[in-house]
Amino acid sequence: MADNVYDAIVVGSGISGGWAAKELTEKGLKVLLLERGRNVEHVKDYVNANKEVWEFEHRTNRPTVQMLKDYPVLRRDYVLNEANLDFWAKDSESPYTETKPFAWFRGYQVGGRSLTWGRQSYRFNKWDFEANGKEGIGVDWPIRYNDLAPWYSYVEKFAGIQGSKEGLDVLPDGEFLPAMDMNIVEKDVAKRIKEKFEGKRHFFIGRSANITQPKPEQKRINCQYRDRCWRGCPYGAYFSTQSATLPAAMATGNLTLRPFAIVKQVLYDKNTKKATGVEILDAETNKTYEYKAKIIFLNASALNSTWVLMNSATGIWPDGLGSSSGELGHNVMDHHLNAGASGFVEGYEDKYIFGRRPTGIYVPRYRNIYDDKRDYVRGFGYQGSASREGWKHDVAELTIGGAFKDATCEAGSWKMGLSGFGEMLPYHENKVTLNKNKTDKWGLPVLDMDVEIKENERRMRKDMMNDAIEMLEAAGVKKIKPELDEKYQPGMGIHEMGTARMGRDPKTSVLNAHNQVWDAINVFVTDGAAMTSASCVNPSLTYMALTARAADYAVGELKKGNL
């Protein structure tokens, strides 16, 4: 085999790319894993993982003015901070244009955003896969919950998801490791919400990819309750490419990892109607190379996988590979957020919390299911937590001096907050396009973003705030402060989805039921781009399941000689 020929090429090494690499190599394929950014080695390159707050020059307290200048996009939300700045793409090197405001927070390194993700891991439910078809919104998913359920189980067992079994249709249980504990206030709030809403609303520990039982076969030990996950975990206690999928893929001896490889296009042969490989640009040397393979997995994150398609086979389709449906780049979705409420909890002065739990609580969707009917479709879930204030709490009467200091050094009041994550519908007119008038430092055209939330989302956001107030009131929370932040921009959920959607018909979708590009069946897209609808739950677990399923199918087809 020539040194540029592989069985499979995986583009992108984040959550879904890591899974594609693992599955394909374990099934015996020689795989080239391409990553546009630098390498990040597990543990060794987590340079801030063990730093204490006083070891940071600015104590992680706020970004410097230079950081604000350098990161005009990242600064729009909480992500700009000195504790893990090295895990976010430099805005200056990754421009895009905004017809409408869009926050695009990217992780350009080996591991992608699997290093920084929120780790919340939920299954879509059966209604999520049916809603588009029933409501005539977008297109129908070509798969149902039962198609994906075994793959959810498969990826959960390997990734390690802690959570509690709740027996709910709206949020199917998975293969859980022992659940992390709710604190005393959360337990009481859970009880009150259950009573007050007659079992129709639920409140339990947030399911997350933090392990609570060691995985010695993966060299991962339990979560140590430091809550510094997004700096990289020296214990491998949360799921990331580095902690889990990459070592598994490497162990097969079948993987070649190539950092600094910006994929410019998928190479397409119009005679066979298949891809033959990819062309890459070396980000350091600016030289181009070609790699050949029988199958290609695009896992560059939703918008970048779409970008690659838009730049491919343009001699045949001016708008790129997969554009024949007219849907490539359209139907951009995110989860809209920053709507909820928080307040103070009286009492519990004799209780405190030991340890920093890396997950909160979760309230699954209850709107527009069973007999509930609102003036919008779909719904939202809440993430939140109860905690006791530390030194930042207010001290009554005292303002400076020894007594003030000693009072400040004590624990403050308990607080409880709920923050909604709402489903955004797939609107055809919400789109990304290639902006050929602007190029990045490698001379490549950039994306233009034209995405907004609409009436359905705005109505839902009112409920996200009002229901949070109502539930906190029911739980006895005082001094409730509503949150309905108009600052939300699409992208801030960091859950970009939908720009190469799956469907049943090549005329209205980009991918088929096995994530194959209709126009090139040996090209698979299994990241957020594939999503036909968004649900309201955090999507990464679904990308993992879709990827494992598609990889299994791809290898089967390859063996049958169909690819």
Partner: protein, 213 residues
């Protein structure tokens, strides 16, 4: 932890959100410039240690001076404050001294510990009253911004009212102290690797709070 919680703005006993944090929000008229400022002088840094020690003095645990808050404040002013705030802050050091002289008949460094405390209690009140006005002003600008957005005017920028210099000082002293090794490990409790979670541990009045992670 909810990943969105990081954004919650706390007032930290100053009646004002973190100085400059409003600049992170959309629609603010920011200069993104702070190049004019090199460093506070050694005297100013020593002066801030004394102000810090009055706000957070040594009690059973060390105070702000032992935690070298002056040095930290210098770094924060230099790197994290924009030009307007840098100027307000540096002028504030002189204003503080003048105000002390007016009230106590002595400069801050000449004043006794008791006089310093008395004076800063009065100054804290002045700063809080000022912050209330600033909050009203900021809310009004926020409304104008929302209205402009709704009308499709994306160019509208919020005006900014300068914060009170003592609000800045007090915030920086508190952050500097409680996130220092001294403050975190001696005034507060610090556990680098908890290893477990207990959501109902016993707590009695006077027990120390946890340090920042």
């Amino acid at each position: 932890m909810n990943r969105r919680e990081l954004l919650r703005l706390v007032t930290m006993a100053t009646g004002s959100v973190l100085i400059g944090s409003e600049l992170l929000l959309s629609g603010c008229n920011t200069t993104d410039s702070n190049t004019a400022f090199a460093s506070l002088t050694a005297e100013e840094i020593a002066f801030l240690d004394e102000v810090g020690e009055t706000i957070l003095p040594a009690t059973a645990s060390p105070g702000a001076k032992a935690a070298e808050v002056g040095k930290f404040i210098n770094v924060m002013i230099r790197d994290c404050y924009e030009t307007d705030d840098q100027q307000t802050f540096q002028k504030g050091i002189k204003e503080l001294d003048l105000a002390c002289k007016k009230m106590q008949g002595k400069t801050f460094l000449e004043a006794t510990a008791q006089q310093r405390e008395q004076f800063l209690i009065a100054l804290d009140k002045e700063a809080k009253d000022y912050s209330k006005k600033k909050t009203l002003f900021d809310n009004e600008q926020g409304k104008l911004y929302t209205q402009a957005q709704e009308k499709g005017d994306l160019q509208f920028k919020k005006e900014r009212m300068q914060p009170h210099y003592f609000t800045m000082m007090k915030q920086l002293v508190m952050i500097g102290f409680f996130t220092s090794k001294t403050g975190a490990t001696q005034a507060l409790r610090h556990v680098a690797v908890p290893g477990r979670y207990d959501g109902a541990m016993e707590y009695k009045k006077g027990d120390k709070a946890w340090s920042s992670k």
